[in-house]
């Protein structure tokens, strides 16, 4: 047994709280962007993930990721109902790892809700994210954080593949199954409350400190580096996005500032504890620029990815995952060197494989799951309900009453 370290434990517990706060932050980030009649529907989908996914995590999720099965594919049932988790060896209690990783499991399916805004039937959404957590998130998290992709040599500090590529691809799969919003492309659907989106951005940025700097499960120099990297990537992500937005669309917008910051945060996630020097600035700026340019993908393909989960999370996740293959620096964390630090192409190749594997796996399983739900209970609300909005049709409430 390794002795418990109170400093590490305190920081991981604190980080769990920070990551928890990101889900309501995401709710308001997305909520401000939908039309007012769908505000409560959006908030509910995100908050509900805190209820459902936490429950699944406690019953079986943690065990299936961190139970020591001896294989790299899936855990076991040793920690069912969180029994005996403190037997896990390490310098923090197993229960601290349970708490921290639980918040990741919660926010990942919640990311999908931005793509399918305004048209998911609530009951079907609940079934979708429940099974998605079990069939997609848990295996992917196992492979990346504690399984064969990690053993192969792919690096993912805080979830660029397991969380952002995974959720981004899943969002695409569900969008293809559920179809576009009524009036997509003909009716204007501008955000109803960008101040709330800005507030949500602030909460996400704040919580991301725990997301990334907590992922080393230690209060040490790597955590400090990860914290600074995270913040800097958000900063240059914002600058990069605003610059191209100003040049290409004419104005630097508040929604652009928010989106660019989040794009930078997404991209630095896999890299946070492995890079240093100018790398976080470059990675953030690259994400800001590339994610803005990726907005055109959904137009070309006629995918109604309503709040740009593909452009921000999928493309941002890919940018970060691949750039890590260039910028990883053993001087920061003693793991691997990327192309720019004399490590050759080995890491880049592993990063590429991890991105493809997680992406293809997530797409296939999510697509099948969404199809099955769609043909049994129906994934989408009917036309009249969509016209009235999610608030009234799904929850019998209104976000704004006089």
């Amino acid at each position: 047994m390794i002795a418990l370290d109170s400093g590490h434990t305190a920081w991981v517990l604190m980080s769990a709280a920070l990551v928890l706060f990101m889900t309501p932050g995401l709710a308001f980030f997305y909520g401000g962007m939908v039309r007012s009649k769908n505000m409560l529907g959006m908030l509910m989908q995100n908050i509900f993930a805190m209820g459902l996914v936490s429950t699944i995590w406690a019953i079986v999720g943690f065990s299936l990721v961190f139970g020591d099965s001896g294989n790299g594919w899936i855990g076991n049932f040793d920690f069912l109902f969180l029994a005996d988790v403190n037997n896990l060896d390490g310098d923090i209690p197993g229960m601290a790892l349970v708490a921290f990783q639980m918040m990741f499991a919660v926010i990942t399916p919640a990311l999908i809700t931005g793509a399918t805004a305004d048209r998911l039937k609530f009951g079907s959404y609940a079934v979708l994210i429940g099974f998605w957590s079990l069939l997609v998130y848990i295996p992917a998290a196992k492979w990346v954080f504690n399984g064969w992709l990690l053993d192969m040599g792919a690096l993912d500090f805080a979830g660029g593949t397991a969380i952002h590529i995974n959720a981004g691809v899943a969002a695409l799969a569900v969008v293809i199954v559920i179809g576009n919003r009524k009036g997509h492309g003909t009716v204007a659907m501008p955000p109803h409350n960008l101040p709330l989106t800005m507030l949500g951005t602030g909460i996400l940025w704040f919580g991301w400190i725990g997301f990334n700097a907590g992922s080393g499960l230690a209060a040490d120099g790597v955590a400090a580096q990860a914290l600074v990297n995270t913040h800097l990537a958000a900063a240059t992500g914002m600058l990069g996005w605003l610059l191209v937005e100003k040049l290409k669309a004419g104005h630097a917008t508040t929604l652009g500032a928010a989106s660019g910051a989040v794009a930078g945060l997404v991209a630095i996630t896999p890299c946070a504890g492995f890079v240093g020097g100018p790398a976080p600035l470059i990675i953030g700026a690259a994400a800001g620029v590339l994610c803005f340019l990726a907005l055109g993908i959904k137009e070309k393909m006629n995918w109604d990815d309503s709040l740009d989960v593909i452009a921000v999370h999928l493309i941002g996740g890919i940018v970060g995952t691949l750039l890590l293959g260039f910028f990883a620096d053993t001087a920061i964390n003693g793991e691997f060197d990327g192309v720019f630090y004399g490590g050759g192409l080995e890491l880049l190749k592993d990063q590429f494989v991890a991105a493809i594997v997680v992406g293809v796996f997530s797409f296939v399983v999510t697509f099948a799951l969404a199809k099955i739900i769609d043909s049994t209970m129906g994934l989408r609300i009917d036309e009249e309900a969509e016209l009235r909005g999610l608030d009234q049709s799904q929850h019998a409430e209104s976000a704004y009453t006089s």
Partner: protein, 112 residues
Amino acid sequence: MKLVTAVIKPFKLDDVKDALKAAGSAGITVSEVRGFGRQGGHTETYRGAEYKIDFVPKVSLQVVVDDADVDSIVEAITTSAATGKIGDGKIWVTDVDRIIRIRTGEEGGDAV
């Protein structure tokens, strides 16, 4: 009795209110409205996608006045709401058949 209805730029409301008070108007009713005229709408951009906003926010106000006061009220609104730029709005005057003060039941000129 006449009903004077004006659609004006929202930020001019305070000036118009002051001018109407000075012109002796006993009360006005104000609503926030949206619409378009020759000014047309404007465009907004969200994540690079342009939205044409056809309906521009305006304020509509209504004043009921004695026939004799119509010209001075219209004059007060015209001067106070004008910026000289497109989109200043419109005023129209219509006949009012009856007017009743709910509290007392008074009718006609006494109820204005």
